[in-house]
Amino acid sequence: MKFITSNFVRCAVKSCDGTEGSFPLNFQDCKLQLEEQEFNEEFIISMLERLDWSALVKVASQLGNNAIPPQKPSLDDINEVLLKDLHSLLLETQIIEGKMICDNCQHVYYIKDGIASFLLPPHLAK
């Protein structure tokens, strides 16, 4: 799973809808791998407005990256170094193994061989 996807996934359990603990998920025991990708400045800039910045900072720090500015950078403070860092974090960082925990219901979702699974056991699924 690419890091960027952590910004677009939450707990799949219906009763967690809208609860604070269900997004972002709490990433634990993760193994990362860097997979090189072509740098596209425009893509990163356009992603900026779509990203939930505080979720991004939180998950980055769970994965050991504390270098992300706490506030979303405005278009004026953006420079190439920052964009390249974001590119490397969002698109090149793959989570290969790990757990994602919902802090609301404590359900644990697993990432194995780079693939995250959000399937629920029958009693939790609709």
């Binding site: 799949a12 356009s46 399937l119």
Partner: protein, 259 residues
């Protein structure tokens, strides 16, 4: 598909009885959809590479850098058609997601996860577009089919559009010959190719009446064949606004918008 390896009418009847004896839709789908896709994943994936024209056009006409979901993406045949988008493809079948992963390694315009279309792991009002191609006909009752459309609409932003395809009951021109008036809830056989054997060889061996030739395994998938107008009706019941609809290659399709 060679005729001689198809299941007999008795075999289909037996499987159909088994299907109806299952307690609820969840169990039916687990046995007659999810288990089957996992078993046929590799073979199935080899047959999925040609994009359907209207799906391609829909993806090519999304605004650059939009983000979307492909619900029931299978081997991911649509997730890199337009590299200017970012698509999260999800599917219930781990087997098919494994295929997707290896086919789309190194691409930056998408990501792939295992998820259930009825329980998507996404926030509300997040995505600019969605596609769900040949998936919703696999839910075993109407409420679940409508709920699946609701779930797609839930994750779309206001004004976001979803392109949905379902298999049609009216497909008289196809070799399967389903048509108006027939049963809509059916089981469709998938004949697995045997390892190292081409279907042609199997047929020849059968014709020579060689006794010890094993029949290739047949897996039955559940489909609800959609009648003319039914998909539109389901979308309206799900709370969406149908902005376009049509028929392509034995399927009904709609573009449904979140209001």
């Amino acid at each position: 598909m060679s005729g001689s390896v198809q299941p007999t009418i008795e075999e289909i009847q037996q499987e159909t009885e088994k299907f109806h004896s299952r307690g609820n839709s969840k169990i039916k789908e687990s046995e007659f959809v999810h288990d089957v896709y996992n078993e046929i994943a590799q073979h199935f994936s080899q047959t999925r590479y040609k994009p359907w024209p209207i799906v391609k056009e829909f993806l090519e006409t999304r605004e650059d850098k939009s983000i979307g979901v492909d619900v029931g993406c299978g081997n991911g045949k649509y997730i890199s058609i337009n590299p200017k988008l970012f698509i999260i493809g999800s599917d219930y079948s781990t087997g098919l997601i494994d295929q997707a992963k290896s086919l789309h390694k190194g691409e930056k315009c998408n990501d792939i996860i295992v998820a259930d279309g009825l329980n998507l792991p996404h926030n509300n009002d997040k995505f600019e577009f969605a596609i769900s191609i040949a998936v919703i006909h696999h839910f075993a009752d109407e409420n679940r089919r409508i709920d699946a459309i609701k779930e797609i609409l839930r994750v779309l932003k206001k004004g976001g559009q979803a392109l949905i395809y379902c298999w049609a009951l009216e497909q008289e021109k196809s070799r399967r010959g389903y048509k108006e008036g027939m049963e809509q809830d059916i089981l469709v056989p998938w004949v697995l190719a045997q390892k190292g054997k081409k279907k042609k060889d199997i047929k020849e061996e059968e014709e020579k009446e060689v006794d010890n030739v094993e029949k290739p395994p047949v897996k039955m998938r559940f489909y609800h064949l959609y009648k003319n107008g039914e998909l539109i009706d389901n979308c309206i019941k799900a709370g969406g606004k149908v902005v376009k609809d049509g028929y392509e290659r034995d399927n009904w399709w709609v573009i449904v918008e979140k209001e």
